[in-house]
Amino acid sequence: MKGKWPVVSGALLVTGVVSAFVLAIAPAGRSASAVSAVGAPFALTSGTPDIKSAGVLAFGPDNVLFIGDSDAGAVFAVQVPDAGPAAGTPRFRVDAFDTKLAQALGTTPDTLRIRDLAVHPRSRDSYVTVAVTRPSGEESVLVKVTPAGAVERVALAQVPFSKAEIANAPTAADKDRGGDPLRPLTITDMSYSDGQLFVAGLSGEGFGSTFRRLPFPFASRAGAGMTGVEIYHTSHSRYETQSPITAFLPLQLGGAPHLLAGYTCAPLATFPMAELTSRPKVRGKTIAELGGGNRPLDMIELTYNGKRHVYIANSHRTLMRMAVDDIERAAPMTTAVPDAYVAAGAPYVAIAMVGVLQLDKLDAGHFVSLRRDTASGRLTLESHPASMFWQ
């Protein structure tokens, strides 16, 4: 197959691809280890969260860090200590991050798999989830990296936390299935906005692409408030595909909250948030094809000179910048791109930065990247001003 178009391209198909999502208000469970009420505004309790495998991360309000745990089929909200506002410039650079991380964990870089990164908006500390393979078994670790490059483990014992169970597929059939093993659920991305945590996921068994909204503070009554919603992904194709969302971003478009969702291979689609709550079926709008053979890894929004832009990190493309104006203006894509790897729809600028594995917003004008250098193969953790891409 060499020389031919390598991947899917769904994009193209974008044209009409239908994606089944389930939108649900998830129930929440409390850990038995919770002992006392603290963190009052968010109904957090002090205890030790029973995290099996810390994966996807997102920061919420007031030092609350959401930790996705695919193994446990749950999201944990953990309040991390407030390190206070960072002083000085938001620019920092941590070279040889892989070596520093391995040293802090008493191992070597080849035993590490970095799973996600989120930046604390006030302290500018980067929180990173890492899977460590040790002779005693795999260990799941949360670490904090200061702008000065100090790496330390974050203790997750006796911390204020709450937990939302999300593994159960929210359909009526589940009521008959008490006691059955939970289906594996993989959390592919999370984002917090205005009292809600958005969670995209994929079940390996039913091949269900799922999207959930969890009100935060998490509801305390287990099993309450589940609503099933199916979302159509783009308009005209006759055939369904249940492609998973690999990265998404809550985004204001035309003055209304929307979801910008990136799919593997590599369409971008928008969904009005209002429709994700109230209608049984919502038709998404495909606004761009980023080029086949690729999948978006992370998306953030930054403003520079009064203009809003979305930055997209990719598995098989450079870092991209797309103007929100262009996303708002984009006509729905209804035809396939003419050839392999061709991009179409809302235009993007290919920024001269490759190997970006993780991306998160630091403040209105800065973001943080975890990048693999093409010459040395080393990992660099670094903050960048949006302005550097305009000069």
């Binding site: 391209s9 769904g10 193209l12 798999r113 002779p135 359909t171 939970l182 959390i187 055939y239 890894l297």
Partner: protein, 308 residues
């Protein structure tokens, strides 16, 4: 990205010669039975010091177990005897055709790999864009599997388990490809084989005309009595995942029962009871709800025959 590594001629010769579905290069015993309680091999806890295995982690099974698979097969699942590492799966699985060429971009690569909670079962999805007709990838590349040809799924010994150690051996699953399956499984086509006798603990067996997805099958069927109460017991699957057996914890009572099916149960091509995976959505939506129950009865035990 999958690595391209030529297989040794000897290995290849063994694979060609083999008529069985799985070539076990190392002496591994394939698991043919499973239970709902321990859906697959019994996992060891990851992370605890006591978890250090005495023997190397082995591949306990590769599913579907049938040796003929549909051209639009949706997924493989690979079961292990102990928890595995995370983030290394796609380096260690390859689909190879009969000319020993790797089938490029056959699988959907996800940053977050699809593992079960115990991390002893890995789900490997084919790229759905290549399975669905008219999608760009399907038109340009075709389906990864072509009807009438033979393939091997190869799994490296170097795939590290959760302790970083290599597997007990490399495993290949050799199979041939039949026609694409674009029909929903129909409960009406199933057979409830000779219901067990009242007061016995004999298993009840339900057979299907086609193999069904193993993981979903283990959790999708229940037996309920006339009052809707669920019959507890041990579930096992038959050869090629073409049958399901429940051995009840308590002896059967006579009376009416139903096999109840979760409509999300899928066949090997991802077709479930309510929709075909590769579906014309607009046409499909008008179809009636599927049959999800199958009644059967257990007759009262007859008194021993007595002469008049």
């Amino acid at each position: 990205m999958p690595r391209r590594r030529p297989l040794r001629p000897l290995t290849w010769a063994i694979a060609i010669a083999s008529t069985t579905a799985i070539v076990l290069v190392f002496a591994l015993r394939p698991s043919s039975r499973s239970t709902a309680a321990a859906a697959g091999p019994r996992p060891r806890a990851a992370g605890s010091p006591s978890a250090a295995p005495v023997s190397a982690t082995a591949i306990a099974g590769v599913f579907p177990s049938a040796s003929v698979l549909p051209a639009n097969l949706l997924r493989f699942s690979i079961e292990f005897s102990a928890p595995m590492s995370r983030g290394r799966a796609y380096e260690h699985v390859r689909l190879v055709d009969s000319a020993n060429r790797e089938v490029d971009r056959a699988f959907l690569i996800l940053d977050e790999e699809l593992w079960d909670h115990a991390r002893t079962r890995f789900t490997l999805l084919f790229d759905p864009g290549r399975l669905k007709r008219t999608l760009r990838a399907n038109v340009e590349l075709g389906t990864p599997l072509r009807e009438g040809r033979r393939y091997r799924l190869t799994i490296d010994r170097e795939w590290p388990d959760a302790t970083g150690r290599a597997l007990a051996g490399r495993v290949e699953k050799s199979f041939s490809v039949g026609p694409a399956d674009r029909a929903k499984p129909r409960v009406a086509d199933w057979r409830v084989d000779s219901p067990p006798a009242a007061l016995s603990r004999d298993p009840l067996r339900v057979s299907f005309p086609e193999p069904l997805d193993r993981a979903l099958l283990l959790s999708s069927l229940t037996i309920v009595d006339a009052r809707g109460a669920r019959i507890a017991g041990r579930v096992t699957l038959g050869a090629e995942e073409r049958s399901w057996r429940l051995t009840p914890d308590q002896p059967w009572s006579s009376g009416a029962y139903r096999v109840r099916v979760d409509p999300r149960l899928e066949d090997l091509a991802g077709n479930n009871l309510t929709r075909v995976f590769d579906v014309d959505r607009t046409a499909d939506e008008r179809e009636a709800a599927p049959q999800t129950e199958r009644p059967f009865a257990i007759a009262p035990r007859r008194a021993p025959a007595t002469s008049p």
